[in-house]
C-alpha cells in the first residue's frame, strides 16, 4: 500500500458514552477512490464509527486526513467537514426548503459560491439521480426513495472528497431500496472515496473494495469482499454471515 494513496487514517479510535465503550481502539484507513463498507450486528458501533469519520462525534485517537493530523480542538472543524458528504438513514432533508434549496443551501450559504452556478449544478445533480421534475417540491411531497436520492444529490453538491452513507436504505420500503442502491452504484469512481454502513449484503459485496466487520465496538476482521464473504476466518463473522443469509 502506497502511503500517498491514503486519504484518511485513524489509529486507536476509542469512543465512550458514559461507562459504555461504543468503539475500542479501532484502526481505520481509507484510500483515494476506494469504497469501504462497515458491516456488523446492530449495536456494534457501525454508525458511531462512520459519524466519527467527519467528526460529528468527538473521540480519543489519532486522526489524520491527507497527511495532516487533526485534533478535536481544531478551529476550522466546520470547513473541514465539507470534505465529507454525508447521507443519513433518515435522510434529514430540511423540511422548510424545496428540493433545489436543500441542494444549494451549503454551496451558496456555506461555501459562498455564485447562486446561478449552484442552481445549474444542482439541476445537473438532480438529473443524475433522476429527479429533475421535483426541483420545486418540498421533502414532504416525496417518497422515501426520492428523499434519499435528493439527500445524495445534496451531499454531492459540496464536492466532497469522501461520501459517507449511514445505512442509506434501512428506513426505506423494500421496493425503494434498489433505486437508491442504483444511484450509489453509479457514484463509484476513482475520483471519490466512499464509506458505507449497510445491511444489504449482496450490495456491499458487489460495491466494496474493503469490508470491515465490527462487533461490540471492535474490528474483528477486515479484507476484500471475497475474503470476508467466501473465506471468513473468525467464528463471529461466520455466525453473523450465517444469520444474515437465513
Amino acid at each position: 500500500m502506497q502511503k500517498s494513496n491514503v486519504l484518511l487514517e485513524i489509529k486507536g479510535l476509542t469512543k465512550r458514552f458514559g461507562q459504555f465503550d461504543a468503539l475500542r481502539s479501532v484502526d481505520f484507513c481509507l484510500e483515494k477512490g476506494r469504497t469501504t463498507s462497515i458491516i456488523g450486528p446492530s449495536g456494534s458501533g457501525k454508525s458511531t464509527l462512520i459519524r466519527c469519520l467527519n467528526l460529528l462525534e468527538d473521540f480519543q485517537g489519532k486522526y489524520c486526513f491527507e497527511n495532516t493530523s487533526i485534533d478535536m480542538d481544531f478551529k476550522k472543524i466546520n470547513e473541514f467537514r465539507l470534505n465529507f458528504g454525508m447521507v443519513f438513514q433518515h435522510f434529514n432533508l430540511f423540511p422548510h426548503l424545496t428540493v433545489l434549496e436543500n441542494i444549494i443551501e451549503a454551496p451558496v450559504h456555506v461555501q459562498g459560491r455564485k447562486k446561478a452556478e449552484c442552481i445549474s449544478e444542482a439541476k445537473a445533480l438532480l438529473s443524475r439521480v433522476d429527479l429533475i421534475d421535483k426541483v420545486s417540491s418540498y421533502p414532504s411531497q416525496l417518497s422515501g426513495g426520492q428523499k434519499q436520492r435528493v439527500a445524495i444529490a445534496r451531499s454531492l453538491a459540496i464536492n466532497p472528497k469522501v461520501l459517507l452513507f449511514d445505512e442509506p436504505t434501512s428506513a426505506l420500503d423494500p421496493e425503494m431500496v434498489e433505486e437508491v442502491l442504483g444511484v450509489i452504484r453509479g457514484l463509484k469512481s476513482n475520483l471519490i472515496s466512499m464509506v458505507i454502513v449497510s445491511h444489504e449484503m449482496s450490495f456491499v459485496k458487489e460495491i466494496s473494495d474493503v469490508i470491515i466487520f465490527l462487533d461490540k465496538g471492535e474490528i474483528i476482521e477486515s479484507g476484500p469482499p471475497d475474503q470476508i464473504f467466501n473465506n471468513p476466518k473468525s467464528p463471529r463473522l461466520k455466525e453473523f454471515l450465517a444469520n444474515v443469509k437465513s
Binding site: R81, F88, L93, F94, P95, H96, E105, V110, R154, I158
Partner: protein, 221 residues
C-alpha cells in the same frame, strides 16, 4: 329591549374615547411584543449554550419574572426606579410587558428548538455550517413555525395584560371603561363595552395567527 338600546347608545357615544384608547392599548401591546422577541431569543440562546453560568443567568431571569406578579414589575419600573431613572408611563408599561413576556416566550422558543430532530442539527453540521448559520437558516425557521400557536396565545395574554397599564394612569381601554363607569354610576355597561373591544381584538388576532400558520404550512417529515 330598552336595555339593549341603552347599551347601543352608550356604545356609540363612548366610541370616540374607546377608539382612542384602543390605539394606546395596541401601541403598548405591539411595542412590548416587538421588544419581547429579541429578549426571548437572547435568553433562549443563553439556555442553549453549554456554559453553566449563562444557563444559570437565563434560569434566574425566568424564575424572577415568572415568580413575581406583572403589576409589581410594572410598578417597579414606574415608581420604584425614580431615583435611578425616570421612565414615563408608556415606556414603563411597554418595557415591563416586554421583559415579562420575554421570559415566557423564551421558554416557548426553547421548547420548539428542543423539538427539532437531532438529524436536522447533524445534517447542518455535516454540510459545514457553524452554529450561527445552523440556527439562522435551518433550526430557527422551523422552530419559529412550531412556536406560532403558542406565540399567538402569548400575544393574546399580552393584549389583555396591557390593561394593567391603567394602574399607572395610562388611558388605555380598561382605564376608559372604569372612568366612564364611575362617572355614570353604570360600571356594568362599560365593562361589557370594553369586553366587546377586547373580544374583537382577540378575534382578529386569532384569525391572523391562523392565516400565518397556514402560510407557513409545510408537512413535517
Amino acid at each position: 329591549m330598552t336595555g339593549l338600546i341603552n347599551f347601543a347608545n352608550a356604545f356609540v357615544d363612548s366610541s370616540p374615547l374607546f377608539l382612542k384608547a384602543l390605539g394606546l392599548t395596541l401601541s403598548i401591546t405591539t411595542c412590548s411584543l416587538l421588544l419581547s422577541l429579541p429578549i426571548a431569543l437572547f435568553f433562549t440562546f443563553l439556555s442553549l449554550t453549554k456554559k453553566k453560568v449563562l444557563i444559570q443567568i437565563s434560569k434566574l431571569y425566568i424564575y424572577l419574572i415568572r415568580g413575581t406578579p406583572l403589576i409589581v414589575q410594572i410598578f417597579v419600573l414606574y415608581f420604584g426606579l425614580t431615583n435611578i431613572i425616570k421612565l414615563n408611563a408608556f415606556v414603563s408599561a411597554s418595557f415591563a410587558l416586554a421583559v415579562h413576556n420575554g421570559a415566557y416566550i423564551s421558554e416557548i422558543f426553547r421548547g420548539a428548538i428542543n423539538s427539532i430532530g437531532l438529524g436536522q442539527f447533524e445534517a447542518s453540521k455535516s454540510l459545514g455550517m457553524n452554529a450561527f448559520k445552523m440556527y439562522r437558516r435551518i433550526i430557527l425557521p422551523q422552530a419559529i413555525k412550531r412556536s406560532i400557536p403558542s406565540l399567538g396565545n402569548q400575544f393574546i395574554i399580552t393584549l389583555k395584560d396591557s390593561s394593567l397599564a391603567a394602574f399607572i394612569s395610562m388611558n388605555e381601554l380598561f382605564n376608559v371603561a372604569t372612568t366612564l363607569g364611575a362617572n355614570t354610576f353604570d360600571q356594568m355597561t362599560y365593562l361589557l363595552i370594553v369586553s366587546v373591544y377586547y373580544l374583537g381584538l382577540v378575534f382578529i388576532f386569532t384569525l391572523l395567527t391562523r392565516l400565518l400558520e397556514k402560510k407557513l404550512h409545510y408537512a413535517e417529515i
